[in-house]
Subunit: 300 residues, 2 copies
């Protein structure tokens, strides 16, 4: 198997299809990279690219996409509902098969340094690449957004890791970092009471005293007449999907509410599902290379 | 994704490594084919190759391997514990991603016809490729083994589908066919009583009135002081692993015996595990292309 890295960069353009296409193109054109998805949102005025590739090649593709975004997006005129601070808002690298978090961190540092130098852009390292604990959380770095960054740069705690300590006039500020794969996992409850979903979300999520790598909130599904505990599982290798489900089932039992189903939104690493199958089947000594398809995952 | 077929041919040589290597070599050398495993057993005097490839290429590889086996193995001098009837004993084709059972059946017919003609070999079609119900089961075709085949050919019900109606003097008789992937799935019980494993196996397996695509028998695990229900799941897309496990758990409950674990032996298609994860998590509307790695399964 090849060493593979996933890259899910977010760019601040979700309305002009011509610009979206130019930013996404390097991922289609680059040998050794597969473009899996380009998601745009007009209200957010934002695009999210999902691509996989070998480390050198994914780096070349994302550097070229960043060049396009810096050239084509003007943050001084950008409007959108999603918090944002730069034309290239955030560039996460995710280690997949055969590659390690250390490799993803090293790659993120390379990209951050080269982008800062090539585009004269202030760049923060975040998540596992962060150079201080208060800079690990992307929301903390982005707080104040594009318009507030100039003031933020006055604070010695908020100097960029690479590039000049001043906001790029059109491209703003960028965050680059490595993180584990994120799984969007929602559990549906047989009730329409939002307060119950909220209460359960609070018990299951990390900040409420729940599972370490679980973010959760209650959501109402109006059409279904149900509520949902909507979760981001931020490191499924440590906090498994089945742990979240079974904790929710336990808490729901206090309210006499059944779990009626669940859903995975978007992509999920195979291992996250295998971990669940292995748990519920009680599988002993199962190795991922017993999965037939693991032998089909060649380079790109 | 490429259309892929798995081939798991069994050859009647498990002792002479030089012969084993020559028979396995075409699968290593053929472009578009990946050799996953070569398993030999001296007591059985038999080898089992596991390979995956695109249909044309896997056909070329297996035809070449058959040529080697026909040239190098003499059934008139073969001894071994495993039932066998030919140098190339059986050639199963299994549809994998993007390919269908119909394609695997068509491929098996092509290989059967060409092998019969090229090697002057009687060939039976079996399983999903069988031309009559009584010829679907490999054990029924092979009954009498190499030594009994000449007598069997006197019976009009046992004329080969291709090739001459007489046993090849050194290469015997071959069966070729298409079948679903087979999963070896064992469930361990918290007791050392073999009679309990036997009774449960009888209830869960097809011939005992249990699940349609489940073969099962009781096995004693001496070192662990436990017994096991050892199963072959012959079509996991219709009889799921979790159905077998939960039926065993129910039956075991009658004896006050707990299920203490399970194991998958050898390779398992990803979908068999995803089906289990989806069942226990209660996943709604899950699509296999949501598995990140499904996008990495390129051609070979």
């Amino acid at each position: 198997m090849a060493r593979l890295i996933e890259c899910v960069p977010n760019f601040s353009e979700g309305r002009d299809q011509a610009v979206v296409d130019k930013i996404a193109a390097p991922f289609s054109l680059q040998q050794g990279v597969r473009l899996l998805d380009v998601q745009t949102d007009g209200d957010h005025n934002r695009m999210v690219v999902t691509a996989i590739g070998t480390p050198r090649e994914i780096k070349d593709a994302v550097m070229e996409a960043m060049a396009q975004a810096v050239a084509l997006i003007d943050m001084s005129r950008h409007q959108g509902q999603h918090p944002r601070m730069g034309a290239v808002d955030v560039v996460p690298f995710i280690p997949l098969q055969e590659s390690t978090m250390d490799e993803a961190v090293a790659l993120s540092r390379e990209v951050a340094r080269e982008a800062a130098s090539r585009f004269d852009l202030p760049v923060f390292l975040y998540e596992r690449s962060a150079t201080a604990p208060h800079r690990a959380n992307l929301a903390a770095i982005r707080k104040g957004q594009f318009e507030g960054m100039a003031a933020k740069f006055q604070d010695p705690r908020w100097q960029p890791d690479f590039g000049p300590p001043r906001v790029h006039p059109s491209a703003g500020v960028t965050a680059v970092g490595a993180r584990p794969p994120l799984v969007a996992f929602n559990v549906n409850l047989g009730t329409d009471r939002a307060d119950i979903a909220d209460a359960i979300a609070e018990k299951v999520r990390h900040i409420g005293g729940g599972l370490r790598y679980c973010k959760a909130m209650g959501v109402t599904l109006k059409e279904r007449g149900q509520v949902q505990v909507s979760m981001n599982m931020t490191d499924f290798s440590r906090t498994a999907l089945y742990q979240a489900l079974e904790l929710i089932r336990l808490e729901a039992g206090r309210f006499g509410v059944p779990v009626v189903g669940s859903e995975v939104v978007g992509l999920v690493p195979m291992q996250a599902l295998i971990d669940c199958a292995a748990f519920y089947l009680g599988l002993e000594n199962f190795r991922t290379d017993q999965v037939l398809e693991s032998h089909l995952m060649t380079g790109l």
